[in-house]
């Protein structure tokens, strides 16, 4: 066994000098940086879609714009107070922090308008909690100032107040006269993304309402705009029918379902964004698990073939037994893989836990907790080792009968097909981690590590863990046994790789009496 450790040590030392090893280690920071940068890049390169509106009704566009402004204001009021900036609303924002959406909407509407048609009295229709009188007075006092400030903001400044503000995404462009020919020309030149035509009597029907764009697949603008228009039209219709505004707003209220989930101990918990992250975190782990197992078992295959084609194998076998050699190789590469994984772990820890602390940042969704979840990390480590051992056994057996990588690639094909499955299954299993598909596939040993890792967020039952792990362990032992038998004969073989029947015959051969290949035509191998 001592000699096997020597082999492992050499294997490890050689591997950590390879380019692949360092690429493997550096892959993680590169991916972390990409994950961090891509949304920022996408965000910064995204331009607001410009659109124009031809309003045949003569009044609708104005109310719609008012509605947009008040929604923007609401987004701004919801934004936490920025210590660096001074806006007229900082004091107010704190006071309004806990107000429900419908009340905030009334206040927003009140703040962005100057006419008497909007008043804070609407607030009373929503019942508790009542706004403190002082706060209410404050709002009334500040209305003019705030309105002036709001109107004075440039589009860029307003967009910067909150990512939810509409001008980040959609921008009404008033540079074009409202003639169809000119607008069509603007769309053709891509100066405009789209334009809307509002019919003569939108309250009566949709007749004459049009949406014109050269891009009908991206419906974000259409959906956003038609939602706002619909809401306005509904309000007008309700008023026309002499509906009490309170009743009307009550009718308009949507039913909101609170997402809840049952936790491990059986109690009902509210779903917050962290749980969503948690549910999908295993997918990321599966992906890394897959890469690690793939890279490392592939490394084993390559090294085995290299030793064989380099004719080193005879020298090695004159010093140690084939089984010790195989064990050493498997251990050496496992050590390489674990080194990569541990360095990944340190980097993740640094990136999500240490770095934000140093920079004084608070990460969204508490990523650090999810990334450093001991359950995930533990599962990852265990399933890496088990999965690696299984694939190592398969590939080392396979590599031992091949003379070069090309031969190996042909034999690898079925193995690779199986190896692709975890990636294809990642999302379906993540969506339904305890479904029949997930449960059944957990019992397929080559898939067990990936599927079980995939399910780690909604943990499978203990029985499942025990049974699948047992099955996996039995498969590993069997695979190693088969691999050892193939290895000790195949590793000395040159010439065409043996057929399936021939390999079966090797398996039957007793361990102390090695029977070399039954192939009289190929005596050059001897």
């Amino acid at each position: 066994m001592n000699r096997a450790l020597l082999v492992a040590q050499r294997e490890f030392m050689e591997n950590i000098r390879t380019r692949g090893f360092w690429i493997g280690i550096l892959m993680m920071p590169v991916m972390l940086i990409l994950i961090g940068l891509i949304p920022i890049i996408v965000e910064s390169t995204r331009e607001a879609k410009k659109f124009a509106v031809i309003d045949h009704s003569g009044w609708l566009l104005k109310t719609v714009q008012q509605q947009i402004a008040s929604t923007d204001m609401m987004f701004y009021l919801r934004e936490p107070v920025d210590a660096n900036s001074r806006t007229p609303l900082d004091a107010l924002k704190k006071a309004l922090a806990d107000l429900p959406d419908e009340k905030l909407q009334v206040i927003s509407q009140y703040l962005v308008t100057t006419d008497a048609s909007h008043s804070l009295d609407e607030l009373d229709t929503f019942g508790a909690p009542q706004l403190a009188t002082s706060v209410r007075r404050q709002i009334e006092d500040q209305r003019i100032d705030v309105n002036r400030w709001w109107q004075s903001l440039s589009i860029e400044d307003r967009s910067a107040l909150s990512s939810g503000i509409s001008t980040n995404s959609f921008l009404i462009d008033n540079n074009f006269s409202n003639e169809v020919e000119i607008l069509n020309e603007a769309i053709h030149r891509e100066d405009l993304f789209a334009y809307f035509i509002i019919g003569k009597d939108p309250v009566e029907s949709s007749e004459g309402s049009r949406y014109i764009s050269n891009n009908l697949t991206d419906r974000d603008l259409l959906n956003w705009f038609s939602n706002i228009v619909t809401r306005q039209i509904r309000q007008v219709r309700l008023q026309q029918e002499n509906m009490d505004p309170v009743v009307a707003s009550w009718i308009n209220q949507a039913i909101v379902f609170d997402g809840l989930t049952i936790s491990k101990d059986g109690s009902v918990e509210a779903v917050d964004s962290q749980d969503v992250v948690r549910q999908w975190a295993p997918v990321v782990f599966v992906y890394f698990l897959w890469i690690s197992i793939l890279i490392n078992s592939q490394m084993l295959l390559t090294n085995t073939i290299e030793e064989k084609s380099n004719k080193l194998i005879e020298v090695l076998l004159s010093s140690i037994s084939p089984i010790a050699l195989m064990a050493g190789k498997i251990m050496g590469i496992a050590a390489t893989g674990l080194t990569i994984i541990f360095s990944w772990g340190i980097m993740i820890f640094g990136f999500f836990v240490i770095l934000p602390q140093l920079a004084g940042l608070k990460l969204p969704f508490n990523l650090s907790e999810v990334a450093a979840d001991p359950w995930f990390l533990g599962s990852f480590l265990v399933y890496f080792l088990l999965g690696y051992l299984l694939y190592a056994a398969i590939l080392v057996g396979l590599g031992s009968v091949c003379n070069n990588l090309k031969e190996a690639q042909n034999l690898m094909l079925p193995v690779q097909l199986v190896q692709m499955l975890p990636i294809l299954l990642m999302v379906p299993i993540g969506r339904d981690p305890n479904g029949t598909l997930a449960q059944v596939l957990s019992y397929v040993p080559p898939l067990t590590p990936f599927v079980m890792m995939n399910r780690a967020a909604a943990p499978p039952t203990t029985t499942e863990y025990v049974l699948t792990t047992l099955l996996l362990l039995v498969s590993i032992v069997a695979a190693l046994w088969v691999a050892a038998k193939i290895f000790r004969i195949g590793i000395l073989l040159t010439g065409k790789p043996p057929g399936f029947l021939e390999i079966l015959r090797w398996l039957k051969a007793p361990v102390t009496q090695s029977n070399l290949p039954v192939r009289s035509a190929d005596t050059s191998a001897l």
Partner: protein, 310 residues
């Protein structure tokens, strides 16, 4: 006589092919022993069984008295026919590694590796990667790796193949040095002349079967003397000489094969009056001839691959 290795009726079958067929041999301690035979005769298979890389189907192999090959891997040194090195490893690391695999502690293995590299004139190559070595240097490195743990029995499979004349000499000196140090050396070759020059004992194998074995002197007794001569004049007299079994007349030179009891002296007196002789040499039988003859006796289909002398 003390024997380092006793091979007793060893047989190895690969499918329908009997690679080694009941071969027996005793290798005396401290001798240079040649395994001779054409390619595919079963030399490498026999050697692999001695190294416990393969296991015999029948018969037994005993080393140093009563040990099995597996029990004394560390006391054997093996240079396989097909030489390979870890391309990316430094020379010194590679040799140290192979030494450690034979049970030599790391620091000792390293210092011995350095010492041997210097001894072989490769001191400056210690930190070179193996893929930067020339073929001859690589061969030397491999031999150093084979000898680092001071094996009592060294087995070299075709050690001369692919070497230039200078390196052939280097390897021959190494083998002779080993003998002087009291080690036992087995080497295999299909080039009979090489064996003839340095072997104390030989074993002739063909098609997996032993043809003959013994000390070089004993083996040579089985053969026949030859006469090589250079002459001017008509070679007519060379035909029908008494005691000559075969004449190979090349016009200005000739080779005569003699019967075991033939007298070279009388042949000389017969031909001197007829020819102007420029040289006349009586040769002991060559291993090549003995081999061709012995194989011919057993099997008419003599393998035609005899290396450079054929």
């Amino acid at each position: 006589m003390l024997h380092s290795l006793e091979i007793d009726k060893v047989t190895k079958v690969f499918g329908d092919n009997v690679a080694v067929d009941k071969i027996s041999a005793n290798i005396p301690t401290g001798s240079i022993y040649g395994f001779l035979g054409p390619n595919g005769a079963g030399k490498t298979t026999t050697i692999r069984m001695i190294m416990s890389i393969l296991y015999p189907d029948a018969g037994s192999i005993k080393l140093f008295g009563s040990l099995t090959p597996e029990q004394c891997k560390d006391r054997l040194g093996y240079l396989p026919e097909e030489k390979g090195l870890y391309k990316k490893m430094k020379t010194i690391e590679l040799i140290t590694y192979f030494g450690r695999l034979k049970g030599i502690p790391g620091s000792l293995a390293r210092s011995k590796a350095l010492q041997l590299l210097q001894q072989f004139g490769l001191g400056s190559c210690a930190d070179l990667r193996c893929d930067a070595l020339s073929k001859g240097m690589g061969q030397k490195v491999q031999i150093i790796a084979t000898l680092l743990h001071e094996p009592e029995l060294v087995i070299l499979d075709e050690p001369f193949s692919g070497l230039d004349p200078i390196n052939v000499e280097v390897v021959r000196d190494i083998i002779l040095d080993l003998k002087r140090a009291g080690k036992t050396v087995i080497f295999s070759t299909h080039v009979m002349e090489q064996a003839e020059q340095i072997c104390d004992y030989i074993l002739l194998i063909n098609n997996g079967k032993k043809i003959l074995d013994g000390s070089l002197a004993e083996v040579k007794k089985c053969g026949h003397q030859t006469i090589s001569l250079e002459y001017e004049g008509s070679g007519e007299v060379l035909r029908n000489l008494p005691g000559v079994t075969r004449v190979n007349d090349m016009g200005k030179a000739a080779e005569l094969s003699l019967q075991p009891d033939a007298d070279p002296q009388s042949i000389l007196t017969r031909i001197v009056p007829e020819l102007t002789l420029r040289s006349f040499t009586v040769n002991d039988p060559s291993l090549h001839e003995i081999f061709v003859r012995s194989v011919g006796d057993i099997d008419e289909t003599v393998p035609q691959d005899h290396g450079p002398e054929s």
